[in-house]
Symmetry: C2
Subunit: 343 residues, 2 copies
């Protein structure tokens, strides 16, 4: 059983995958495994993945057969296990929990070589819709406090399979980065009775120099204190704490905006590897909602996607400090991205 | 002038290197620059670096000439600038500061190909001594709140020059990771009147399964909630908040312990790339010591080196959450490292 362990110094949870126990010889090189030509995510190989959790498919097709448009399956090598009750325990000064959680893969389309940014807008919207459906469904499980949706595009960004896919991990704790954002949003709201993100967006829209694009009420901008070159946030201009509540019209607007940003990054940076992740409010139905990690209902939060092109290596300074050196001012990154010609 | 910017959501400072303004075409590939065979850190090339700040050299040799054992020079492409007064300002909802700081390079020896772990113990101790001398000297500058000493070994770990070197960055803010540790240590002390790190060490020494090695009062262990496979902390068993106060005897013990750990990592993991960084108490002479980042004198802190072999890629999940998945339980990592035969 994997284990969740709490670092009493950094106040951070870590997943220790106790079952896999990787030996030193497993770490010889960082290179990706050579492709054998076989892909378990291709159409026709549905029996090579665990049985599907969800698929957008015609009504006359059976589960785990060809014909699907978007397909969600459990991860074959999950970081957390779905079965069991949460069990918290101490170990002297330390705290731990059994590694309960969900780990799923969204196979974005049957096409092996079609990257997310190149999907037609109708299909892009279907993928976003699937994110939302899984988010809603996983929130029904009261063991899960947070559901993280994230994508690794390209080997440098951590993708182990080339077939375009997104991952979903549901955890019994709110991850530290999100907890920090929730806390900042709460503090700002208590002081000013305004949303921190709405205040930031107001200033960004007035200043304009960090805006990348605006589409139907969605905005993409490079954050004032960007950690990485060409980091972009995509978020609704109108306040909304929960991505699960986005309407179909909103999903279409989001898809248009995200597709626009991905095309600009591709054009400006020669199809870079990237990560993106959704930050949205935690599960309000969670058993453990009164933890130190989350002290109020998160209506003061504002959901957003964070897109990070993987252009620079992270070295000791960043690891040692959580303090980043960014060689590209976000105003210049935004200007480059605005000026890219997209077709 | 570089700029320090504060992220109001993540409460983190970022260095924006506004002078370099890297364009999209600068990021074509992550590969290191090809070596031209010329190394500015080699003996005889002293005039190819900025003038030395410090060097261990015989009394009959002149600065910036051959003959030195360890040499410290300003970084030719510094992330922060040494000249000027600190200037804090707002920009609407945001906060910023001019990018004042020091950025130095410790050239560990004249030998181009001799890695730190392979240095004879006498030379290893000299390098540690130089760290301490620079730390003491930089602390005299009241503009600097924190001095970070860190090493990138190998291209994967972020090293841009092959000649073994360590970097030192002095900053006018306490970096978030260290601030979090200081805060945890303070909270623990207020509650229990004991040092958090001492309590952890006591348990580790009793349990024993995460201990890698012990040398003359220094201990190396794999942390309970290790973020990365084979992560190792090296620290004095006896309480000490400030690395600058370590005696010569202590420096020798530290050198023996660090060298032992580096040899074990090399043996177990086939000479892996790694980062290490020193976490020690901030500058108590700093102008700005009453910030939210640092609320008490740090005598409750406990200095330590964090050594992180770079064996796994950091993917979207980690970036998105600050929540790590570690495939190797620290107990197993410690056991492998204990069992390595070192010569």
């Amino acid at each position: 059983m994997p284990e969740l362990r709490h670092d009493p110094i950094q106040k951070r949870w870590v997943i220790i995958a106790t079952e896999r126990g990787r030996r030193p010889s497993d770490f010889v090189r960082l290179e990706p495994e050579q492709s054998s030509g076989f892909c378990p995510f291709d159409e026709g190989n549905e029996d090579k993945t665990p049985p599907e959790v969800l698929a957008l498919r015609p009504e006359n097709t059976k589960p785990n057969t060809p014909g699907w448009a978007v397909r969600v399956v459990p991860n074959k090598f999950p970081a957390l296990r779905i079965e069991g009750e949460l069990d918290r325990a101490g170990e002297g000064i330390y705290d731990k929990m059994n590694g309960i959680g969900a780990h799923e893969v969204v196979i974005e389309s049957p096409q092996h070589d079609l990257n997310l940014g190149d999907q037609p807008i109708e299909h892009f919207q279907k993928i976003m819709q699937v994110y939302q459906m899984r988010l809603k469904d996983l929130k029904k499980d009261t063991r899960f406090r947070y559901i993280l949706i994230f994508k690794n595009q390209g080997v440098t960004a951590g993708a182990s399979l080339a077939h375009p896919h997104t991952q979903i991990i549901a955890t019994p704790v709110t991850p530290r980065t999100v907890a920090m954002e929730l806390e900042s949003a709460r503090q700002h709201y208590e002081l000013k009775e305004r949303c921190l993100f709405c205040d930031i967006l107001k200033q960004e829209l007035e200043q304009g120099d960090r805006i990348v694009t605006q589409v139907d009420g969605m905005v993409a901008y490079t954050p004032f204190a960007s950690r990485f070159p060409f980091e972009v946030f995509v978020t609704p201009i109108e306040h909304s704490h929960d991505f699960a509540e986005l309407t179909d019209k909103g999903l279409l607007a989001l898809s248009r905006c995200m597709k626009d940003v991905l095309a600009r990054l591709k054009g400006a940076l020669n199809d870079p590897p990237y990560n993106f992740m959704l930050h949205t409010s935690p599960n309000t139905k969670s058993q453990a909602r009164r933890s130190t990690y989350w002290t109020s209902l998160p209506y003061d939060f504002h959901w957003h996607f964070e897109i990070i092109p993987r252009l620079v290596r992270i070295a000791g300074f960043e690891w040692g400090t959580g303090f980043y050196i960014n060689p590209t001012p976000p105003e210049e990154a935004a200007r480059y991205l605005r000026e890219v010609e997209i077709t």
